[in-house]
């Protein structure tokens, strides 16, 4: 038990949690943006898979992780374009289209992977990191928090920007209005459909980026169905985060730590079943929901297509 206090253990908990939590964070922040604008995106899993494969291809053939991130983001965005056209513009069922995107993401990336690489799964080199001077010498957090790929720092800055944007900018206001009361936004002369379209595209980009991070930094390779339900996990995190980016960040890191905790425990000689550890956060949330029995806040117009002139 004394090992539980060892530096080695906590280093591995934080480092592992960060690696596993980042894809969740990108995807769940994306989902937060989408949900705030009134679009429920169930297709996160598929968009992550598109992003993961495209990201892997970009990093593999482009020889730089940045091309990978860009390709992943764009692939996610491309997938979300389907959602923009069918769900936002034509007002079709968001859940059905989301499920379709998830199925297509799994199927297409698996087929494409096999067509390109056959049965081999080539590995990428390890992603380069940026150490922040002085801070990286701190014990435990130094070698974990302050020695990360640049995109991690950008993501944390992005969370701050997003919090501010939600609260204090017109864009954020429009976005929230599109989810809370689209009629009011329309009456104010702002296109609900355009606002939601941009939100869904942003979701696609972020989710694709999350998938790319998973393939490039997390695994260093792409295998079919590499996300293993993380897209759905991100939906849950976003809904529990109640539209607040910092909560979403916290939730993602918490889930990230549980995803990697059994490996960390292994280091200090404690063997705990991965399945049990993975189960714990969900079980905890279910218990919390039962005990506190409060409604997870969702925008009133979530999943309702907006058609002008109807009520």
């Amino acid at each position: 038990v004394s090992h539980l206090l060892s530096e080695e253990f906590w280093t591995s908990v934080i480092a592992g949690g960060l690696v596993a939590g980042m894809p969740l964070m990108f995807a769940s922040v994306g989902e937060t943006i989408s949900e705030r604008s009134g679009v429920l995106n169930i297709g996160l899993e598929g968009m992550m898979l598109f992003g993961a494969y495209a990201g892997f291809l970009g990093a593999y053939y482009g020889h730089t992780q940045w091309l990978g991130y860009l390709a992943g983001g764009l692939a996610g965005m491309g997938a979300s374009l389907i959602m923009v056209v069918l769900c936002v513009w034509l007002g079709l069922d968001q859940i059905v289209v989301g499920i379709a995107i998830t199925l297509a993401g799994g199927g297409i990336t698996s087929v494409a992977q096999q067509a390109e690489f056959g049965a081999s799964y080539p590995r990428l080199g390890s992603a380069s990191t940026l150490s922040i001077p002085l801070l990286d010498r701190l014990p435990i957090v130094g070698s974990t928090l302050f020695e990360q790929p640049i995109i991690v720092y950008l993501a944390f800055i992005g969370i701050g920007v997003l919090t501010w944007a939600f609260r204090a900018t017109n864009i954020g206001l429009n976005l929230r209005a599109a989810g809370e009361k689209p009629e009011a936004l329309d009456a104010a002369g702002v296109s609900v459909l355009a606002t939601r379209s941009y939100a869904v595209l942003a979701t696609g980009f972020l989710t694709g980026l999350g998938g790319a991070y998973l393939a490039i930094v997390g695994a260093g390779l792409f295998t079919p169905f590499i996300t293993q339900g993380q897209g759905y996990m991100a939906i849950v995190i976003a809904m529990l985060g109640r539209g607040k980016p910092w909560w979403v960040l916290f939730g993602s890191m918490l889930f990230g730590i549980t995803l990697s905790l059994s490996d960390s425990l292994q280091i200090i000689g404690i063997t705990l079943s991965t399945d049990l550890v993975n189960m714990l956060p969900f079980a905890a949330i279910i218990v919390a929901l039962i005990v506190f029995a409060r409604r997870s806040y969702l925008p009133p117009s979530l999943a309702l297509p907006y058609v002008r002139g109807t009520r």
Partner: protein, 382 residues
Amino acid sequence: VSKPEVDVPIAPRSGPGRIGAQVRDVTFRSLMPVVLALVAGGLLLLALGHNPFSFYLDVYRGGIEQGAWQDSAIRMAPLLLIAAGLTVIFRANIWNLGYDGQFLLGAALVSGWGPALLNDMPKAIAIVVLFIVAATVGAAWTIIPALLKARYGTNEIITTLMMSFIGVDLANILIKGPFQDPTVATPETRVLPFDKMLPNIPGTRIHVGLVVAFVAIFAVHYLLTRTSFGLRLQILGANPRAAKHMGVNLTRVIVISFLISGALIGAASAADILGLWGYARANWNPAYGDTVIPFVFLARLNALAVIPFIAFFSVLATGGDIATQESNLPTDFLLVLVALILLFMTVIEYLGRRRALGGSYITPGLKDAARSPLVRLKGRRA
């Protein structure tokens, strides 16, 4: 400021031709997505350098010819049971997306307890007990989402998904732990001997699980269309507020429909394990629910109409396994076909709806969005 455009429904036409036209319309709208998806899938195959005609011919051969139809029929059993479960809950306009957890927990318990039960009891009783166990655990796994939804309005999409994750993990823990076959190194349960599995329908290789599935489908159809519970369920689905005003006990209807849904999905696992597989492996997930959903919708949440769709998909999946092998594609290609069916379904639904309403094919909002994508709040001066 111009008056907002409102779609005015055209008056229903009367006359003898109307019902015929409606049937034709519905059939067209149900079959068209499948046809379009197969065409689009064919184009995709062409792009991947395969001959789509020989691929679909392989699907036909591997799914129907030379007794392969029996394999397709075997595959139908769990799918039909899951379809019945999803039809009930979707009719109430509630989402049960936790089917993976409900199915796999049932599968773990059936394959874990099956060998011992079948040894100690007469086979018929043991099989009935195992079906009840699977149905009970499937139903039990929906209780928390159902109560949270009924009492506090908690979104059932999150809660069923979370319960699903817990269920899948718990199933793996059970299979790796207490149910592990001690004689093998891989994490899996003991394998049932052939003579302990579900008997076949006489003269075929198809196990009686298919009969159970058909009974379930007919029972669900009867429940939804011929009983007062079915009526209350549909009112809840159509308009919860109206249902409340009519004195429908919402909590009861929500909980019962969840329980029925979970029980049918659990029973699907018993049919699949006892009829086809005989054991369960850790991390095994056939993800039946994902592929059933499109067809439940294509059947317009009608329990009887879902039968031909599931039959079609079973042939596609059974033959597709062989066809994908022949052309060296991963079987996941079938997922792409299912996704295409879903997408075309929503689009055709949209076109049909617009036409029935007598409106244009492009919504006014779509025109706006195309015209002025960058409208700012700045312009708000009223």
